[in-house]
Symmetry: C2
Subunit: 459 residues, 2 copies
């Protein structure tokens, strides 16, 4: 804090008077944005409705279609300058109706596990069973011999590293297990792959998420068991129990379907052709309610635009809110959006994403060059009173990253909430509205509105 005071004094001495007045005006605007979010905000009720009136909304589902309808109606109700849908083609995978797994001990004793098929997995085609072989990590599986693994069901019990302070780093360390586990298992002849859920608490909730196959390698079923079950299985393994795994899943992929990104705009007054894209993803996994992932993110952005309109802010650039479809299993919303806007010859000048949950704000990161990072750093003093302190280089987000393929040098910004509880809920049945705190959500909306305001004024 002392350092900020020092820089502030330095800045106060060398800054011309009119800039100070401008800065005071900006501070007053930001205070109004926070007041609007905290005392008369719509975010909490909007998130409740998205979670309860729609619910889980995986790409290709009836719920995803209804979420598109819900979004368009909601955006229309707020009276933005433009509201429209952007048609895209997306994958379609369904969990089906059968999904169960058991561990069978040598004495015939059965333990039913809490399990979710990984998104994109094939089914088992009836009951599948086999000897269970356990590995402590993906690397350990990769180093195993075909002889050890062939014909067995592989269990990878690699926990997320709880010593990482920012939980996304721990997630990053385990992400390849979920993505590549089936390929690595099948390469050695495994019948199926079971992974320990990518979640931090020891609890009964399994966490799903995307996985992929390699066309040249046999496709095998892949599922995640809860961390609690993983610990129980490990105890049996450590006790030298000989275990079998029994699995049934009838999930499957279907042909691609048509779906939509949903878009709203406030037209720029000075540079209407220069577009600031910001948003989150409307789709979720098919478990829980997608409350934090990414209900909170789309609501942050929707509420931010609503607040800017309520405060009668006339942006210089066009502010475009995008609810992206299909971030979870393919990112065809983000990829298609970037391609379409480039083909239309649009001028995209910056993009912002919220997809890290609805927790208390910590700041923003920037995937950009040194000037863009300097601009981000210059925003920090405006947020000190609001408990934001992260204004660092970092990732923008999955949905907006494809813009970089078409717009060289475009700065991408990611909203950074506190990460400690995110992997309690991520892709799990527990990602429900009740686990989002009203104030934390609202503070995220206010931070997003304030950030868009500063970005628009400083670009």
């Amino acid at each position: 804090m002392r350092s900020l005071l020092f820089l502030y004094l330095l800045w106060a001495i060398i800054t011309p008077i009119h800039t100070q007045a401008q800065s005071q005006k900006d501070s007053i605007f930001i205070r109004k944005a926070y007041d609007a979010a905290l005392s008369s905000g719509k975010a909490y009720e909007d998130l409740r409705s998205l979670c309860k009136d729609i619910g889980a909304r995986i790409t290709g589902s009836a719920e995803a279609a209804m979420a598109v309808e819900w979004s368009e109606a909601k955006m229309n109700s707020y009276g933005f300058d433009k509201v429209y849908k952007q048609e895209i083609t997306v994958p379609h995978w369904e969990r089906g109706t059968k999904e169960a797994g058991w561990v069978r001990k040598e004495n015939g004793e059965l333990m039913k596990v809490h399990l979710l098929a990984l998104g994109g997995s094939i089914g088992t085609n009836g009951l599948m069973e086999g000897e269970l072989i356990t590995f402590p990590s993906l690397t350990a599986l990769q180093e195993a011999s075909q002889k050890e693994v062939v014909g067995k069901i592989v269990f990878i019990n690699q926990p997320m590293d709880e010593k990482e302070i920012i939980t996304f780093r721990a997630y990053g360390g385990c992400y390849p297990i979920r993505g590549n586990g089936a390929v690595e298992g099948a390469r050695l002849g495994a019948k199926a792959v079971i992974i320990r859920s990518l979640g931090l608490p020891i609890d009964p909730h399994p966490h799903t998420g995307s996985m992929h196959y390699n066309d040249s390698i046999q496709k095998i079923p892949a599922a995640a068991v809860s961390t609690q079950d993983a610990e129980l299985i490990q105890r049996m393994v450590d006790a030298k129990e000989s275990l079998e795994f029994v699995l049934e899943m009838d999930c499957q992929s279907y042909p691609d379907v048509s779906s939509h990104n949903v878009i709203a705009e406030i037209t720029g007054t000075e540079n209407p052709d220069e577009i600031i894209t910001f948003g989150g993803h409307l789709d979720s996994w098919d478990t829980g309610e997608g409350a934090h992932d990414d209900g909170a993110g789309v609501i942050h952005c929707l509420e931010a635009l609503r607040i800017l309109k309520e405060l009668d802010y006339k942006p210089k650039h066009t502010l475009r809110l995008v609810f992206f479809m299909n971030e979870e299993n393919g990112n065809f919303g983000g990829k298609s959006y970037a391609k379409i806007v480039k083909e239309k010859g649009e001028n995209q000048v910056a993009a912002v994403e919220s997809d890290r949950g609805g927790f208390a704000p910590r700041g923003f990161t920037c995937d950009g060059n040194s000037d863009q990072l300097a601009m981000l750093a210059s925003f920090e003093p405006y947020f000190t009173n609001y408990d934001l302190h992260v204004f660092d280089p970092g990732y923008g987000g999955v949905d907006i990253t494809p813009l970089k393929n078409y717009y060289e040098g475009i700065p991408l910004f990611g909203f950074v909430p506190d990460s400690q509880r995110y992997f309690d809920f991520h892709h799990a049945p527990s990602d429900v509205f009740e686990n989002v705190n009203k104030r934390e959500l609202e503070l995220g909306c206010a931070a997003m509105a304030s950030f868009l305001y500063l970005l628009d004024k400083n670009l």
Copy 2:
């Protein structure tokens, strides 16, 4: 962050080599403290045990006595150099067995409210009923006439200001309502005072807390209804309904009793007579489990000392952990501790408190002079990687503040976790173990251990 980098570079240039080496050693130690807390910590299990094996532990209760026993046994199990109890005299108030309230509409319709007597309140001596008169604030009550209020039951429906970013400021704004409401009501002849709970969410949980009487003014019963009930009553008032309130409570105060602060120490190697006192309060209100208030605080401090011992840290000064009794309704633990240690001629050189919940750490505040504030600010770079950013002037805590009466110039430090969810649970039935997040708690313990380490080295 840029500003920190700048200061770091400046510091790196002007700092002698051996100080840099020292700083690196300190950083390594702090990393070890975090690893110990996050990967093999005892905090979560210790808090579970305090909440479930003891539970709510109001001063003077059997649970408070068992909490003293629990604490001494726990401290002994960790093998600190000294463990002992400090006998003190404390007030004794009991809620009793009868506690219920209703709103009665003109047509006889009844609405039962969720209600808790305020701590220290007298009972109603059977069923009490009276016309309900509602005020939007304590000030409005103070400005009312005796004629309006006499013989009625006063309802003060002043909400906490949701626009305050740091929720403790909103609490501060409403604190006098709970403390003085009964005195202000009785001054105008009210029969009883009902307040809106000091809580931020609109939910069914009433929040208790301390209140006081004035010996020259009639004592009247005082209770808090849930924010949800307060909103419902307000709607009736706004609809010009004429309302009565019906109340029964048999809470009462008893003669003072003997109780204990519980203390553990690691003896200083260089200055054993210079004592750094740190702790939280062992007592809680008699509802919920005192999980955040202040189970988390005592566990932060217990775990911090355990970690310092596990890492074989030999402090220069004596590190004294104190579990204070009776913070909630009298602060006789804190007041007696300061008096006793002064009378013993002890040299108290600094004090640290954790009593703001078990949420993700934000930093530390200092109630001290400019040199002490500068020392605190010098700790900030050590914590940047751990997401702490508040190193500001501010309050120490209720339990340690009495030390200022005896030790002029003693610096007091308060641990600052994120405040957004604190007033969801504070003094309410919902303040239970399940509402404390494991990682957030552990990060608080690590921050406390690291802070004590730096404080001991820099004093």
